[in-house]
């Protein structure tokens, strides 16, 4: 049924593998180019090439003029650098070593540095970055991290991985046992319904941490020498209606789609500066997940990893009040059961509805929840205001 391979087809096979390294295809005979681009086996590859903006001209007559404009871009995901902002929260004044370590990854992008309002000293920031510095409003906490080195001592690019996660589809409605089917070398497994294989847009990408994992204070105090050395080479979509603990460390999100939901609204009375003395990101994460589930967006978890250094003392933190942990027990059933109306079609609408439910169901029992709901409502107002300018 299948003919044995010819020398021509073997040559074509080998050419395809090395395709992206060839910058000038003019020497290739037309009929071979046609085989390459029109043959079904390479259709997927073709689509990738076309989408990557590398083909100058595709005519309808069946002849194709191809000029590979930028060979390197063929294997990259297409997000323009000016579509990415990196937000850095400055909790300490000297950012020099942190920024130098991340320079290779950050220098292409625009940075937004937000200074902790309680920080008195001036920030020390090295030159050569395109950045805006803000000293008020809340931010994602990134300080205390460095990028992971792989076995060869090369830095893994966390930003690139987050971009990949956000720009490939997510699959929240059916679990793929080979994890992210849009990665290289993998696909949907047998039994995965075809109608669900195009996936949905990804709104949020949650990365993980090596060395110091994001454990809470009790766990950290019990196991002070525990280090996370297990590198799990996977990204997966967190299924719809499954809640997860969102860590504010190492996340990326699609601002257009779910920006309004990423607000740390839930502040503890005695909240501390160290990560395990807060729960605002956990609260935010559950809001964001509810929003994504309702709007049929995906949330991915897994790669990239960042390497976390030691900071603070878990036992000291334990001595402080960690009522947040107790409070979170109450909110989990709430988030697992909250349902939004059909009328909520944007993230702003969803957040407003969640805030209303929070006030109604949780706010009466504890004023901290009522306050959180107020903050969320204010934030939405601010968001709309700023955005409309």
């Amino acid at each position: 049924m299948r003919n044995p391979p010819t020398l021509l087809s073997l040559a074509i096979d080998s050419a395809v593998i090395n395709f992206c390294r060839i910058s000038d295809l003019s020497f290739v005979p037309e009929h071979i180019l046609l085989e390459l681009f029109v043959g079904k086996v390479f259709l997927r590859f073709f689509i990738k090439v076309v989408q990557s903006d590398c083909i100058r001209d595709v005519t309808a007559t069946g002849t194709i003029e191809v000029e590979i404009v930028n060979p390197e871009r063929m294997s990259q995901v297409i997000i323009k650098d000016d579509e990415v902002d990196i937000v850095i929260g400055a909790l300490q004044s000297d950012l020099t070593s942190f920024m130098e370590a991340w320079r290779p990854m950050f220098s292409r992008f625009h940075l937004i540095i937000v200074k902790d309002p309680d920080l008195k000293e001036e920030l020390k920031i090295p030159g050569g970055f395109n950045l805006n510095l803000y000293t008020k409003s809340d931010m994602d906490k990134v300080v205390g991290l460095s990028s992971t080195k792989d076995s060869k001592g090369e830095l893994t690019d966390a930003v690139a991985q987050h971009i990949t996660n956000l720009t490939t589809p997510a699959t929240p409605f059916f679990f793929n046992t080979l994890y992210d089917p849009f990665s290289e070398g993998t696909d949907f497994v047998r039994g995965y319904p075809f109608s669900l294989r195009s996936g949905v847009e990804c709104g949020l990408s949650c990365g993980l941490w090596l060395n110091l994992a994001d454990y809470d204070a009790p766990t950290q105090a019990l196991k002070p020498s525990a280090r996370n050395s297990r590198y799990v080479d996977a990204v997966l979509t967190v299924p719809a209606r499954a809640m997860l603990p969102l860590s504010g460390i190492n996340i990326a999100f699609n601002n257009e789609l779910i920006g309004p939901a990423l607000l740390p609204a839930f502040r503890l009375a005695k909240e501390g500066k160290f990560r395990w003395e807060t729960v605002e990101d956990i609260w935010t994460g559950m809001c964001a997940k509810v929003v994504c589930d309702h709007l049929r967006l995906g949330v991915k978890s897994g790669l990239p990893y960042v390497w976390r250094q030691e900071r603070g003392s878990a036992v000291e933190s334990l001595k402080k009040e960690w009522e947040g942990v107790q409070l979170m027990e109450e909110v989990v059933p709430f988030f697992q059961s909250v349902r939004l109306s059909e009328a909520a079609v944007t993230a702003e609408d969803c957040v407003a509805e969640i805030a209303a439910s929070v006030t109604e169901q949780l706010g009466r029992a504890n004023p901290m929840f009522a306050r959180a709901a107020e903050i969320m409502v204010e934030w939405i107002k601010l968001w709309k205001q700023v955005r409309s300018q």
Binding site: T177, L208, D216, A226, Y231, D233, V332
Partner: protein, 469 residues
Amino acid sequence: MAASRSSTPVLKDELDIVIPTIRNLDFLEMWRPFFQPYHLIIVQDGDPSKTIKVPDGFDYELYNRIDINRILGPKANCISFKDSACRCFGYMVSKKKLTRDSLECLIAIVPIDLQYVFVDMIGNFACKTMNLGKYFIVDLTSLQSKDPTHADALCSANKYPSNRKGLLSPLFPKNWFRIFIESFIDMQVAKDPSGKEINALEQHIKNLLSPSTPFFFNTLYDPYCEGTDFVRGYPFSLREGVPTAVSHGLWLNIPDYDAPTQLVKPRERNTRYEQALYPNSTFAAFSVQDTDHIYIYSFLRYVDAVMTVPKGTLFPMCGMNLAFDRELIGPAMYFGLMGDGQPIGRYDDMWAGWCTKVICDHLGLGVKTGLPYIWHSKASNPFVNLKKEYKGIYWQEELIPFFQSVTIPKDCTTVQKCYIELSKQVKAKLGKVDDYFNKLADAMVTWIDAWDELNPSGSSGKLPNGAAK
């Protein structure tokens, strides 16, 4: 071969291994070190007059079609013929708590193959000064012949470094994934601090004996594994977990794709890269860094994690590398009517998986997926597969919404009751998709009758305290 140092119980008297087969079982030789302690249940499909040869030294019982007919009588029609779905008969007659499924096309898990190579390579190293930072490349597919000199010959034929000389190869791309085989080294050369197990069977046992967490997703995956825990924000009230009913393992090398995907991507291996350098082989490179650690760089996508599939989420359950707790979920492991005389094939495990997951969700039991990996070496013919599957490909579009929306009443507190309830709903809602589902619904009832008849004490399917929802 030295026995691996293990803190996981062997569970010799509590585990059966079920093997559906149509051929002689010579492949068991390769599994001998891992399977020999256990009792095997062999279900012989196809022509019952043929004698299946089982290597010596195994403790087994064998059932062919004639036995199945004799034992089940008129109920035997629920057991498929000429399809691996017949394996569920083995589950029914097992008397043990845990069951592990093992299809004959499995050759060995990656570490076993590598181990064979290592005996040779380590022998060389042990008597020489260690040269640090050297790389060795071995063609893993050649190890099917279990002859390292064959691997050697392949290396030199392809003009890349032989596994004895250790030359650094510039061919390999930079981001290899590193598998750290620690207990393996423990067996041969050096001591290892963590003693990580890589025995597939032991990993399944570990998965089944530790709890699952279906109600909240832990971003560091299975929190009961060594070296990991619940992350900040994980509700303390949910940290005890629930009993695990199913452990679903994965496969390296040939992935479990359906026919259309196989046709489009005949060469894909479960790899980190779109195409391995030499498409019909899968390679690993070994680097000796110091006397304690040997790093194995591999194209293989080995995801070092086990995780619980969250409640309310369905997944495609592959029967190739499956273990489950018979007492908790056994009656739900019915693989349907497939094969000879049926309009569909290659959906047996899918069907069992969807039913099982729905029942586990209802009863508050956990399903884990991920480790262990096994090495899948035999790719089936995609055209034959397409013929078997194509109805399934259309039908699953109806089946998925059905399973996603099915609700089981609160008074169904045993697996059998849930299953009978499911069969009623299958008849009511899927009967109109095709008459096949009416027959399947009847077969589901027959299965439960047969199960209860062969397992009369009522000890299987009993609910752990307080888990009904």
